[in-house]
Symmetry: C2
Subunit: 207 residues, 2 copies
């Protein structure tokens, strides 16, 4: 989805089937169960070609996350007025989870990040660079990064309860009702009055 | 703890060292890497004794969750006026995560639940029966179970970002500031005006 750049001497059309095989493997076998060799076998290419394109298992996971999340569609939902930012983001986020072509990969990313510190580090880096930074750039109030993080915590929490743990009745509730319930909370994190003056004092060094 | 000879199946003092070994294994090896045989070896007992007390690996995990969560301390924090329910719950919840004798086990439970459907089912059942039901019983407004679930989603989301993914600055922010930021949100889920009238129509059958 995202335009690739850089020197890729191999046929770039070979890269996509490898990445698809990698995502399928992360989804079905998890991060620990996925190997360069196994992905190469699934994609019917030489393991050296997988290394050529992705460098390592971490590189493969990083590309799989980038392809799966999918960052571009979430960043697109950030465009527009700040007043309805949460509504657009939450709606898009739930749509992606509900979409059979994105949901399982998103679940695999969360699984991997919860189960494997290396995967958590990659997800964290990607979240910060490609999602939280653009989100913070859209916020006009104090502590935009912290606001974005609390918003993200609510979105990840809903995904955990609804799509990973599948706790009823949250799991079967229509997505628009879930969105209607969490949107005001997330909008409040993004633009509302928070007790972040204290944070200014206590945690400025961390920001 | 003391040097028990502990081969007698009935001796309840033998149960605790087995459970401690199981928790240590779930923490360090995860759910898939934990076996009845390995736990028995760590606890220096016969595998049959582990089976006697816990019945199966799932039974062992269930007991480990019950011991680790720890449910009683959270239920205790529910006692008191409804107006400060979120404040008491969030404070206690973060205290438990910060506590070296509880935090790693809590993380192991979340890890296991995110990584393994069987573990997710056990956590879900325990959450419903031992945490969400007592919480709902304390709520005076409409749809107490749904309110409890949304509150839980925010609490789990904060734990994911702060203790599992360790995203900064949320990971290093003082716990009282985190509590001050999420408490109003959680109190709103528990007792505030939500757009749950729609849920009454659309999802009554699910409740």
């Amino acid at each position: 989805m995202a335009g690739e750049r850089g020197r890729r001497p191999g046929n770039p059309q070979t890269r996509e089937p490898i990445l698809a095989a990698a995502i399928a493997s992360f989804v079905s076998r998890g991060y620990p169960g996925t190997t360069i060799r196994g992905v190469a076998r699934e994609a019917a290419v030489d393991p050296a070609l997988v290394m050529h394109f992705f460098g390592s298992k971490d590189g493969l996971f990083d590309a799989a996350i980038k392809k799966s999340l999918p960052v571009a569609l979430l960043v697109e939902a950030m465009e527009g007025d700040e007043e309805h930012l949460a509504e657009r983001l939450v709606t898009r986020y739930l749509e992606l989870w509900e979409d059979p072509s994105h949901g399982p990969a998103l679940a695999a990313v969360l699984h991997a990040a919860a189960a494997t510190p290396a995967a958590a580090d990659l997800l964290k880096e990607l979240m910060r660079k490609d999602l939280l930074t653009p989100l913070a750039g859209r916020l006009s109030r104090d502590h935009p990064e912290v606001r974005g993080l609390f918003a993200a915590s609510q979105m990840i929490g809903v995904a955990m309860m609804r799509y990973i743990l599948k706790v009823e009745p949250l799991a079967s509730m229509p997505a628009p009702l879930v969105a209607a319930t969490v949107t005001p909370v997330i909008q409040r994190y993004l633009t509302g009055e928070l007790s972040l003056e204290e944070i200014t004092g206590a945690a400025t060094a961390l920001l």
